[in-house]
Symmetry: C2
Subunit: 345 residues, 2 copies
């Protein structure tokens, strides 16, 4: 199998290198090809998602991404929107047809103390957030800034809602069988459609799954104050962006949040943290989320659950013994990565 | 001065009665007139914001609201959108011209243990969230659900951004002098306008205030994991809705979150919690947020800061000695209210 890695900007290259080292160990037969995305791709090719990268994806079985983007005051942010690093990432998601973004939130036994929540709240948390990734306000073409007015449009169609809801119901069937669909149906028509279609799909095809609906403002509060009430959460693109970053509070750091984006073709696997320009190049970034994303790549992209489990166990061990700085520890990227490598059985 | 109270639905009447009892004690000269809003107004008048309520607001100096809305499966939710309880609330906000919604998030000394956060994180938190309340995706007329497509439009104009940003800068000048403006400018044109206009206003008129910009997903995480980094937060309607409910996690309960909505005319003062249909009518709701909202009414609506301070101190005392059930205590609504009344100096 062939994997394309796209290290990207900021700490992307450092954490991707760590993930690649682990992948090579667990799946030595895999071919790895590295390409550019984001700000570095713009700097080299004048395009944050250049044709050479697009071409390389054609026969890829899975894609491992680092991070894209610069500091708030980076020169990239002065470019026209379609040339900025983030647009490269959005174009990549679109090109791969990855409409379902899976973001697991798990507190490993023995790692409750890393959470800013009281240990009894953090203990045993195991939530899967399924974020719709190709629709809503992110991709709708009806958007404009013009003089003293600007707008964006949050749009969904029934097929878009159904395909991501299917992933959530399917995941719930492998887990505790509960799905919470999140919307703002008391205010938004687009949420009314979302709620109606998710409900209809459940009634038609997933009667064994328990479905309930909650408002996004309420979930924002409850997911941190009472996380154990959730099994699978499914929601639209923007709400999913906010809720999944927020949920990183529970394990204690964005550095512990991997993700898998699944859809029509090759899956895309990436840590949910950003490019952290303040620490880029210093060798201190926490590579755990990137390494766990490589684990998700093995599980969902290459259907090698044993390899994925091996990685998850090794990361949990390394976190216990060599916590990185974002977790209040002292391990740098290399120390942590070595700890993972030597914990692989 | 004349105050209109709108108890509304669910626990609204119970918590409003508590707030009124406290108001009568602290400001005995105030005239109080009660009217209908929300589901109960629909049941009586066929309109969630009936003309008789509209008329009563004309000579009001301030409005004290309870809550509106029913359970998720309430018959009200089957009505056409403009007749639902929430539409009554949105129409009220519009009628009063309340564009700036102030939501203070404060952890009183000695009440850190009520927070699900570790005490050292909760201690001393004092954030003011300023939410734009009349624009964005809530009010834009360009919205539709039709067959298998639906959309809403998130729109802002420069005057809308400036008027609410002014309130944030003004508030920061009375506080620690720092404003964080929250947007999603890496994806949304409407955020680009927001960021540009907030920055320009600061550069023109509030050079003494320190302004920075953060993305909404990042703030969702940081506001709970590192709350002391924030002084004043200003953001658009939907982001403000989500972030302020979320911020209720910090003090430990939505029952501790009052709000003031200011604008062109009489201010609107309301707890940010919902109608809690599961406990409505049982006499166990926490009235602290409603009582503190009455405090904000005295401060911002009637310019009586001494009365407001009196209420804040009494509520803090009552919370320490008679915590309600949402806070893990045993006090019911009446016990708590009596404790506040007897703590008034
Ligand atoms: C960088 C940005 C465009 C992106 C998003 O909002 O999707 C990021 O926040 C994420 O969650 O992956
Ligand atoms: C009830 C609802 C319309 C309302 C809102 O979203 O504004 C509520 O959540 C709030 O925050 O006051």
């Amino acid at each position: 199998p062939k994997i394309v890695t796209l290290p990207g900007d900021g700490i992307g290259p450092e954490v991707t290198a760590a993930a690649v080292a682990v992948l090579r160990e667990v799946a030595p037969d895999v071919t790895i090809e590295e390409h550019l995305i984001g700000g570095v791709a713009y700097d080299t090719h004048g395009d944050p998602f250049p044709q050479v990268t697009r071409d390389a994806l054609k026969d890829a079985d899975a894609v491992l991404l680092g991070t894209v983007g610069g500091a708030q005051d980076s020169a990239w942010n002065l470019l026209p929107r379609h040339l900025r690093p983030e647009s490269g990432l959005l174009a990549l998601r679109k090109a791969l047809g990855c409409y379902a973004n899976l973001r697991p939130v798990r507190v490993q036994p023995g790692l409750e103390h890393l959470s800013p929540l009281k240990a009894e709240l953090a203990r045993g948390v195991d939530i899967l957030i399924v974020r719709e990734l190709l629709g809503g306000v992110y991709f709708d073409g009806d958007r404009k800034i013009d003089g003293d007015t600007a707008y964006n449009t949050m749009r969904y169609t029934t097929p878009e809602v159904e395909r991501v809801a299917r992933v959530a119901f399917w995941a719930a069937e492998q887990r505790k069988g509960r799905v919470t669909s999140v919307d703002k149906a008391n205010v938004l028509e687009v949420s009314e459609l979302w709620r109606r279609d998710v409900t209809a799909l459940r009634d038609r095809e997933y009667r064994g799954v328990h479905l309930n609906h909650e408002y996004v403002d309420s979930v924002a509060m409850l997911i941190v104050s009472d996380p154990s009430r959730y099994d699978v959460i499914v929601t639209e693109n923007l709400f999913g962006d906010i809720l999944s970053d927020l949920a990183a509070v529970i394990p204690g750091s964005l550095g512990l949040m991997p993700s898998a984006s699944l859809g029509d073709g090759a899956g895309l696997f990436e840590p949910i943290h950003g490019s952290a320009p303040d620490i880029a190049g210093k060798g201190v970034a926490n590579p755990a989320a990137a390494i766990m994303s490589a684990g998700m790549l093995l599980r969902h992209g290459l259907k090698r659950p044993e390899g994925a489990n091996q990685i998850d166990r090794a990361v949990a061990l390394a976190l216990r013994e060599h916590p990185t700085r974002d977790l209040g520890g002292r391990a740098d990227t290399q120390t942590f990565t070595r700890a993972v490598l030597s914990a692989l059985e």
